[in-house]
């Protein structure tokens, strides 16, 4: 089993080495209107250069299918046809969720129109404003329309912070409480959602009244939101598809400063397609101190060494490299509840190796070594190894206890006494035979 998995990793690593940039595969399905396809040439060419195989599909077409016989046909899906109501029979909200559970990554662009995708967004805890209400901001003062906004990149776990601001035009998303959300681009503080392009103000007011005050406004809104599922696949919701187009990529945000759009789009795609911030646990080991072989059962109070080997995907070489950069990795030794929770620090000198020695609890049961590392933007690391902790064997207890000396003394003295008594009795019988008989007769 383990060797099989190892082989699998090895093979996939080899494949990656040849022609892929992503840790998850290189085939990409792009669903985009044919007349708009050329608008995104910078973005698409960038992907092609990296080694991705792009397959284009019109939204109205029926093929190629994204999923066939419950097996996804592509490693990644880009949905840029944001204004189309129906994306074909096989692309439904349900099938997209299913794709995610099969470890396919998705990059979705939203629009101000009410489509299937905007109802899908609710499943990801994204709350969109009513249809026809894009993000609007009148700051900073500029020539362009109020709905085309330069957004500065704030602290986020996905995109580098030193990029110039990016041009954005589209819908903002308020974020629900789902912990899997990774906000990538926040709205500027002065921005808000408004009915600028033909939507009805009533809907917005009504929605705002229902929900309380201060809706869809301010820096709490997210414009580009990542989402990492429990299975490790990633989906990124982009508020407007124009963020990727050539025009905004070329447009200046300030005099002589080209916008950060191209680079931003590249980095968002890199994260979404599992190129960056991808970790994995290669293997875990556990054994007694000073022993190398693992045991199926440990005894109470054994000293156990637990080691995990962690790699990070390196996009430059398209391979997995041992990674020692995690500083807050923890190990739990649990049976229903954690009995031991301890830091699992990297071992200096051996890259990718994290190790800790601890004493097994004084309690028997079926325990699990659990690593559960969840950080925004990073792959979730989860490993659970079941092992039994048993009481000492019948001969595993100390044989003589100093505390028991009173009992030993009692046993020994009784034995000696009995021996002496027997000897005296047997030896003395000859002389006292008459007396003994007399008393016995009763």
């Amino acid at each position: 089993m383990l060797s099989f998995r190892g082989l699998f990793w090895l093979l996939s690593g080899l494949v990656a080495l040849v022609n892929s940039k992503s840790s998850a595969g290189d085939s990409v399905l792009v669903v985009v209107e044919p007349n708009h396809r050329d608008n995104y040439s910078i973005f698409f060419d960038g992907l092609k250069e990296q080694g991705y195989e792009l397959t284009f599909r019109q939204p109205k077409e029926d093929g190629p299918l994204i999923i066939q016989d419950d097996v996804p046909n592509f490693s990644h899906v880009i949905l840029f046809a944001s204004e189309t109501k129906n994306l074909g029979k096989d692309i439904t909200p349900q099938s997209l969720v299913h794709l995610l559970s099969l470890n396919t990554n998705i990059l979705v662009a939203l629009s101000t129109k009410q489509t299937q995708l905007s109802s899908l967004a609710t499943e990801f805890s994204l709350i969109l404003p009513p249809p026809g209400t894009p993000l609007v901001s009148y700051f900073p003062e500029r020539q362009d329309s109020a709905s085309l906004i330069p957004v500065a990149i704030t602290a986020n776990p996905v995109v580098s912070k030193d990029l110039p601001p990016v041009w954005f035009s589209g819908v903002p998303q308020a974020l629900g409480s789902n912990p899997h959300l990774v906000p990538i681009l926040r709205a500027p503080p002065q921005s808000f959602a408004s009915e600028i392009d033909g939507g009805s103000a009533d809907a917005l007011v009504e929605a705002a009244e229902k929900g309380g005050e201060g809706l869809w406004a301010g820096s709490q809104l997210s414009l580009v939101t990542g989402f990492q599922t429990l299975t490790g696949s990633r989906i990124t919701w982009v508020g407007g598809v124009s963020l990727f187009n050539d025009e905004l990529a070329q447009k200046e945000v300030a005099k002589g400063v080209k916008s950060g759009n191209a680079q931003f789009a590249r980095e968002v795609a890199a994260w979404t397609f599992q190129e960056s911030q991808v970790l994995r646990i290669d293997r875990v080991e556990h054994h007694l101190v000073n022993v190398t072989e693992p045991k199926e059962q440990y005894t109470n109070n054994d000293n156990i060494v637990y080691t995990a080997y962690i790699s990070k995907y390196d996009v430059k070489t398209s391979s997995w490299k041992p990674y020692s950069g995690l500083t807050e990795l923890q190990l739990e030794f649990t049976m229903l509840d954690p009995f031991i929770r301890t830091a699992l620090p990297p071992v200096a000198g051996s890259p990718g190796k994290y190790s800790v020695t601890f004493r097994a609890p004084d309690r028997h049961g079926v325990f699990k070594f659990v690593i559960d590392y969840k950080r925004k933007g990073w792959t979730h690391l989860h490993s659970s190894t079941t092992v039994a902790v048993v009481p000492p064997r019948h001969d595993g207890y100390p044989r003589f206890l100093s505390a028991a000396w009173p009992y030993y003394a009692g046993a020994i003295s009784t034995s000696i006494g009995f021996f002496l008594f027997s000897a005296l009795w047997l030896g003395g019988e000859v002389r006292e035979i008459k007396k003994g008989k007399g008393s016995k007769a009763e």
Binding site: V97, L100, G176, K210, G211, V366, P391, H394
Partner: protein, 778 residues
């Protein structure tokens, strides 16, 4: 001397004796054969399979013992039981049964007989029943004579009360324990009669075997001291008693402490304090006797008074003090429930929930013992008439066991041997009297028999046992016992006239009684055969029903489901079910279980009960926390199998309520009228409970629009059945008896599974609003 029928003459006594002993051996052999054969109904009607619940664990443990050896068995930690707590099997099991099978298995293999361990286990109980018959023979021989012994052996060989626990495949502790019980008692009686340290030690060795084999050893632990105590109170203290008891107690207690599961209990729990107390009392009494032989009577009396007073005070104070301090464990709940039948239901529902812990119904006595139950009191009276030391034992045993058998169904087993012994004594006295060819002498005054119970007990016992037996068999009891006086006073015979000659005249009077008795015995045999083949031979793993043409139809849902689990799930998949099925899942499906029939952890069982009786949303975190992959329920509604989980459901609720009284409340599961219903009038809590949902999931669909009727509870179910969001139906057996559900994994998007399911079905979600980040000022 005239006889009623001709007797052969000219036979030497040696020939008679030899023929008699040959006949006895042949009779015992035949009895053993009958005992074994009647227990094979289960194998013939069904197959060679381990029965019921506990035997599956014993079988599994025996396999470990046979394959890995005794030391590995001793240190066996079973990580698959009571997941994730695990069970230290070696230290929590009575290993006697497994060790016995292991020894037999190894001997057979050493003899190059490659017998499967399963067959050893299946046939162990019938084999030991033959030994039980022999032990009962020996025991009853001590009470009366060989013929009574043979009768008792025949009774115990085929009586349903014992067969119910020892058919082939019923591989449980009781299978060997009854033999050990009877043989220990026999050795004790022998030790008491002869004052023999050898027999006392043998009794102790078998007591040790019994301790290693069955928790019911406590019965011996209290029975023998009680007998000794009664003997002392009746002034029958003797050095034979002293030697017999002390050798049994000292060797037996030390030996019993070697069993890991028992450990220090013999010196630290209240159940065992009686034996220790009697041991101490015996020393005091023996010492008193010694002092009396050296002192004058007045000195002795004052010394005795002071001594008794001081010893009594000190002893009681020590016992109370140690109990309060906790050194001596107080009585356990199981013990209390013996005296107060309502106790268990109130405080320990888990004990009360077991069907064999219920009070016995009256018909059960007749079913299990047939006409023996009527002869039993007669036999006890006969013991009173003679009242030797060993008869006292039978009387005490009879009184205690009758009470216990009335309290709990399973203790019928403890009553059965003494019923057989007492009935055999009564019946053989009857037969002795009526088969005896001696015609009463009309002319002469009748001479009373030579037995004289008014003589001191010590003397009575010193008469050779042969003579005593002869006297006991000789017919009319002596006139001087209180009982016969009573009978004489109430009988209408006039006092003045000389008593008419008593006795049986002629062959016809004899034949009437003897033939009657024989026909009763015949009916007994028929009854036993019928009960055994119809009631007690079902393995309960396999059910049988009859086709319309009368042929047998086997319902094999349990094994079907367990084998499905075994072959379709990963080896580490944890299966949750009610504890009744834990051992079977472990034995047949070989999968980890949360709880099983070794009900040592009430909280863990209550956790399962809570999961079963709460709604899906509440149960799901519990299931995930315990790594449950599959949930198994037993559902009899389609077939009319009444032992299903819905009928046990209230016990789950009660047990869960005991631990979480705030979350689970029994009244919520009843209708407002207080009825327990499953149809559309069922209470909301009931309908939302996981158990209800799992039982009736898609049940209505089966009837295709017709009324869906639950055939156990005779109720019509609503057309729209329950829905499940957190579980998927994985397997349902042919007759729907076993249903297995798979627990779904968390939603990859982090939604709760209910809304994920709704989304999957394409239902529109209610548009959610962003949460207000500021609270409105009121």
């Amino acid at each position: 001397m005239s006889t009623a029928y001709p007797l052969p003459t000219g036979l030497s006594p040696a020939t008679v004796n030899n023929t008699a002993s040959l006949l006895r051996i042949v009779a015992l052999a035949l009895i053993s054969g009958a005992a074994i054969a009647s227990r094979l109904f289960a194998v013939i009607n069904f197959e060679s399979i381990i029965h019921e619940f506990d035997p599956w664990f014993n079988y599994r443990a025996t396999k470990v013992l046979a394959s890995k050896g005794f030391y590995e068995f001793w240190n066996w930690f079973d990580p698959t039981a009571w997941y994730p707590l695990g069970r230290v099997v070696g230290g929590t099991v009575y290993p006697g049964l497994m060790a016995t099978s292991g020894v037999i298995y190894n001997i057979l293999h050493a003899l190059n007989l490659p017998v499967d361990i399963r067959n050893v286990c299946v046939l162990l109980a019938p084999g030991f029943s033959a030994l039980t018959a022999w032990a009962t023979y020996m025991f009853t021989k001590e009470m009366k004579d060989e013929s009574a012994g043979l009768l008792a052996a025949a009774f115990i060989g085929i009586v349903p009360g014992y067969i119910s626990r020892s058919v082939a495949g019923s591989y449980d502790n009781e299978a060997i324990a009854i033999f050990l019980l009877m043989f220990t008692f026999f050795c004790w009686i022998k030790a008491l009669k002869q004052g023999s340290a050898l027999f006392g030690t043998i009794a102790a060795v078998f007591y040790f075997y019994m301790v290693a084999a069955w928790g019911g050893y406590v019965f011996i632990t209290n029975m023998i001291p009680l007998h000794a105590l009664v003997l002392m109170l009746m002034g029958r203290f003797s050095h034979r008693l002293y030697v017999g008891y002390c050798s049994w107690y000292v060797v037996g207690t030390l030996a019993s402490m070697q069993v890991p599961f028992v450990g220090f209990q013999p010196v630290s729990t209240s159940e065992h304090m009686g034996a220790l107390g009697v041991f101490g009392l015996l020393q005091i009494v023996a010492f008193t006797q010694f002092v009396r032989s050296h002192l004058s009577s007045t000195q002795f009396r004052s010394l005795l008074n002071v001594g008794l007073f001081v010893v009594g005070i000190v002893g009681t104070a020590a016992f109370v003090g140690l109990t309060v301090k906790g050194t001596i464990a107080p009585w356990t709940g199981r013990f209390y429930s013996l005296w107060d039948t309502g106790y268990a239901k109130k405080y320990i529902p888990i004990i009360a929930s077991v069907s064999e812990h219920q009070p016995t119904a009256w018909p059960a006595f007749f079913m299990d013992l047939q006409f023996l139950i009527f002869l039993f009191p007669a036999g006890v009276v006969m013991c009173f008439l003679e009242l030797r030391d060993e008869h006292l034992f039978v009387i005490i045993y009879a009184a205690l066991a009758s009470y216990f058998a009335g309290v709990m169904v399973r203790l019928m087993l403890a009553l059965t041997p003494v019923v057989c012994v007492a009935s055999a004594v009564a019946l053989s006295s009857l037969l002795d009297t009526y088969i005896d060819p001696t015609e009463p002498d009309v002319a002469e005054e009748q001479v009373p028999a030579s037995t004289d119970t008014t003589t001191s007990p010590a003397q009575a016992v010193t008469t050779t046992s042969k003579k005593a037996k002869k006297a006991a068999a000789a017919g009319p009891p002596p006139a001087s016992t209180p009982l016969t006086n009573l009978i004489a006073a109430t009988s209408p015979v006039k006092k003045g006239s000389p008593p008419p000659p008593k006795g049986i005249f002629g062959i016809d009077a004899r034949l009437v009684v003897v033939l009657n008795t024989l026909s009763m015995l015949f009916f007994f045999v028929f009854h036993c055969t019928w009960v055994t083949s119809n009631a007690y031979s079902s393995p309960s793993v396999v059910l049988a029903s009859q086709n319309q043409d009368g042929s047998q139809h086997i319902i094999d849902d349990f094994r079907e489901a367990y084998y499905w689990l075994r072959q379709n799930t990963p080896e580490t998949a944890v299966v949750m079910s009610w504890w009744d099925y834990g051992y079977q899942i472990a034995g047949m499906a070989d999968r980890p279980t949360l709880v099983d029939n070794n009900t040592w952890n009430n909280t863990h069982i209550a956790t399962v009960g809570k999961a079963m009786s709460s709604s899906e949303e509440v149960a799901y975190p519990i299931l995930r926390k315990h790594d449950v992959d599959y949930v198994l329920v037993i559902f009899g509604g389609l077939l009319g199998y009444s032992g299903d989980d819905i009928n046990k459901f209230l016990w789950m609720v009660r047990i869960a309520q005991g631990v979480w009284p705030d979350e689970i409340q029994e009244p919520n599961y009843f209708t407002p009228q207080g009825e327990y219903r499953v149809d559309d009038r069922a209470s909301q809590t009931m309908k939302e409970s996981l158990m209800y949902k799992m039982s009736y999931y898609r049940f209505a669909e089966l009837f295709g629009g017709q009324q869906a009727t639950d055939r156990v509870r005779q109720q019509v179910l609503p057309k729209v059945g329950p829905t499940l969001d957190y579980l998927d139906e994985a397997f349902t057996s042919e007759n729907w008896i076993v249903r297995i559900y798979q627990v779904r994994k968390e939603d990859p998007l982090g939604r709760d599974l209910k809304s994920a399911n709704a989304f999957e079905k394409g239902k529109k979600r209610k548009r959610s609003k962003p949460q207000p980040r500021r609270r409105a000022v009121a």
